[in-house]
Amino acid sequence: MKIAVCVKQVPDTEARLRVAGDGRWVDEENLPFVINESDEYALEEALQIAERTVGEVVVLSIGPARVREALRKCLALGAHRAMHLSDEAFAGGDAMATGRALAAAIAREGFDLVLTGSQSDDVGSGSTGSIVAGHLGWPHAWLVMGVELEEGNSSAKVTREMESGMNEVLRIQLPAVLEIQAGLNHPRYASLKGIMQAKKKEMAEVSAADLGLDGAAIGASGATVEILSVAFPESGEGARIIEGDASSAAQELVDRLQKEARVL
């Protein structure tokens, strides 16, 4: 099977965030970036399917030059090739614009299966994979917690997460877009050998023109929503912060839980 995996690079959830000077996004200077969490699970699932079906895994990412590092890591983990949609024209897209661009890159080559993460840890639309599916005219499933290919690889049994700890099991025809939820497998670590091999693997740079895309339909121009500003929630409300070293803060907390909240 030839499988495409869409990978987004996002700020490390552990990183301290600062609002950028223009107030519209976080300041990316010195910000550590990582592969989006659910995308790591999507890649692992793709690698496992490719191992079973003697397939090929191609990773795609839209973003500035820094995303090459994320793609390189995917190659080290076992992906066969990478496509970097690197054109400035792709920048600033929402899920609608980004999904359109990814779908064009996928359609150009032809794939049997597309895996994405279910949600990005920065913008978090939870939508890009569904939009890719719409453009390709393929069925899709979101929050996928299990994938089992069936006879002849023409369909798959898919487990989809529902609310409150329930899962739905369904059959979907392939090709399809499956939006993978974190936790369905155990992503592998890169080996030294993998890291060495990654250096020799293909990383193609793809422009909007290569995909025959009109600049007005992609990136910020093709976006249907625009972020005006971002801000930390107002402080002042919320928890009473108990100060002091560990043991005195612990003492005071227990005291308050007993006397003020009366829960101990």
Binding site: V19, I242, A261
Partner: protein
């Protein structure tokens, strides 16, 4: 152009989904802010009782698509019918609850009709240029103000708890049939299963000590166990702890885990993402321990300690043991 707000509801076993009542309230408020009308839409098979329930709200119409092909929810069934209906009726806004089912198909519907997409709204207001929406970004650490700049209709989903379901205005809404012939189911439902596990029922616990990714590693859980033991508490966890295999899945609290309302909830190394908060917002007293003073969990906690959990948790265990010993 005056606004026409469509509220597409979700239902189960003949009843409206709780979050859909909130979406009705939100859709009504949006319509009144924009000076337009609100209408509900329900899809399914044998949805008479739901349509009737919707008829009791203050809505200009209840559109009903009733067909066998819609008996089970599928994205292809819903998107097929709704894409055709949006073209026929041209609402300006389509409002949904931000539920797993709705998220799955709403983006695809936006794509199918060439509209605009705004998932997970947590509020809206107007300024001189129109509507400004709010939604969380970066796991809820930041709030964004967002404007829809693309073609109509705008599809927007409301996060749980933004509106009160009981705030939805009641009235008398006429039922209108919607053409369901474009339903094209694109999956076969094989069954529903409960997530495997030991079935710990955390909802019965009076005190829950919940641990998050901040613990760093599964073999560091001993300090959490000791704290839970000192309190006679159950242990719960955020999703990454489960995904990493540090605790079994039946300990997960949140939208895809358990929903609990203990007397005391202690969140340790948990950032406070909305998917976690919806599982524990019923707790009466919430304590958070986190090294990041800006973690959103402090916004919902009653008491907080900012610092390294590896120091604070053992100190807390010690303080509780002492207090219990003193109380005899």
């Amino acid at each position: 152009m005056s606004a026409k707000v469509w509220i597409v509801v979700q239902h189960r076993e003949g009843h409206l989904h709780r979050m859909s009542r909130e979406a009705i309230a939100g859709g009504q408020q949006l319509a009144s802010l924009l000076g337009g009308t609100a209408e509900a839409v329900v899809l399914g098979h044998g949805v008479g009782p739901v349509a009737e329930e919707l008829g009791g709200y203050d809505l200009a119409a209840v559109h009903v698509a009733d067909a066998e092909a819609l008996a089970d929810y599928t994205p292809g069934g819903y998107v097929g019918v709704l894409a055709a209906a949006l073209k026929d009726h041209a609402p300006t806004h389509v409002v949904l609850a931000h539920s797993y089912q709705n998220i799955e198909y709403m983006a695809r519907l936006a794509q199918a009709v060439g509209g605009s997409l705004l998932p997970e709204a947590t509020g809206f207001e107007t300024d001189e240029e129109g509507v400004v929406w709010r939604r969380p970004v970066l796991g809820g650490k930041l709030q964004a103000r967002v404007r829809a700049v693309g073609p109509a209709p705008l599809l927007v989903s409301f996060q749980s708890g933004v509106f009160g379901g009981s705030d939805a205005a009641t009235g008398n809404a006429p039922r209108v049939e919607l053409d369901a012939s474009a339903a094209a189911p694109d999956r076969e439902i094989l069954g529903v299963e409960e997530v495997a596990g030991e079935h710990v029922d955390l909802s019965a616990a009076e005190i829950v000590v919940a641990v998050g990714r901040g613990i760093g590693d599964g073999d560091k859980l001993k300090i959490i166990e000791a704290l839970a033991e000192s309190l006679g508490a159950e242990i719960g966890a955020s999703r990454p702890v489960i995904d990493n295999g540090w605790l079994p899945r039946d300990r997960q609290i949140g939208s895809s885990g358990q929903t609990i309302a203990p007397k005391l909830y202690i969140a340790i190394g948990i950032s406070g993402a909305i998917q976690h908060l919806v599982g524990m917002k019923g707790a009466s007293t919430v304590v958070a321990v986190n090294k990041d003073a800006e973690a959103p969990i402090f916004g919902v906690a009653d008491y907080g300690i900012v610092g390294d959990l590896h120091e604070i948790v053992p100190a807390l265990t010690e303080a509780i043991r002492e207090a219990k010993a003193a109380a005899g």
